[in-house]
């Protein structure tokens, strides 16, 4: 899924800000339609609306189940 973005510096309220540039969404209706279709019919509206609002349909929380102590 592709989506246009415009770089925007974050305003830092009194603290030094380092490293990251955030971007502001510019929703593109064709890519959002595609995002909705990829998500499947039952989820179409939710995915479409989320995408149009500047959100994303990718990168959801995926809890692991791995051993971290041995």
């Amino acid at each position: 899924m592709s989506k246009g973005t415009t770089p925007r510096q974050v305003v830092d309220r009194g603290a030094e800000k380092i490293g990251i540039t955030f971007t502001e969404p510019q929703a593109d209706i064709m890519s959002c339609l595609l995002a909705g279709l990829i998500a499947g019919l039952p989820c179409f509206l939710e995915a479409f609306m989320k995408c149009m609002a500047g959100g994303t349909t990718a990168g959801d929380y995926k809890p692991g189940d791995r051993n971290r102590c041995n």
Binding site: T5, A15, T56, G64, D65
Partner: protein, 298 residues
Amino acid sequence: MSNREAMLMTVLTRNASAHLVYLTHEVDGPTLHVHTQHAISATSLIIPLGLEHCRQVMHVTEQPSILRCRPNHFAVQNAHQQCQNEPIQLGTQIQPQGKDWVGTAGAPVHWLDGSQHDQYGVLSNWHVMADGSNGIGHTQHQPYDNHPAMAKLTNWSEVKCCATMYVDAAIADAKIDGYHTMARSILEIGQLNPTPLDASAGLLVMKSGRTTALTYGQVSATGAAVKVSYGDFTATFADQIVIDGGAEEFSAGGDSGSLVVGRDSKSPVGLLFAGGGGTTIANPIKRIMDMWGMDFAV
């Protein structure tokens, strides 16, 4: 900076021996509290215009310092110091790769990256996860380095000696090899109410941290000006939350990075980063949320 913040900062900076200054509103009017390490007379204080009519109360207390510690400084005493398999509950200990201190991985948070993709990770302090690190991507572990990484440093707000600071915060991405290492809950607190809560004097709060585990306290003041010892330097903060643990200590070394939440609501209130002399200091959580467009993962 608000007028009240500016006045409290003036008291802090003009009176060299003061390290914590705040206002409370008593029945008989506003009261200016000044904490110093050694006893001084209230009449010797240099008070700016606007505060000169406040009642003044002097306190002799230890200067607050950051609350990280060596891993073996406190013997293992609770589940907050035990290694966990995934999903790792927060309110537990964390250590940057190659460093000899530990702090607390405070809370599960969510933000959008530069491509507007959802990211989930850990909120703690700059001085816990980032201080002297190699920067973005520096791995964070459950002690020690031989345990696999649980998060990678993503963003931080550096604390410096000679400017007015507001937050000591850092976030680290908890997605490792395609899966998130962390749970979206805090040990002994559980799932958060993600709606933040403004601190106010008298608010009952709690925190879950690496050393003193689950403790309860009460906000004694907001908008405080405070000088915090970072070991190599002293940093000056404005607009801070002061928490009193009552008969028991609310925090100790190693609890830095803990999330302070409302006792009843479980709503985020502040990020604990310093303490000493019976008081604990926290950054207002909304400042951190606004700075990074961050919210809490539930």
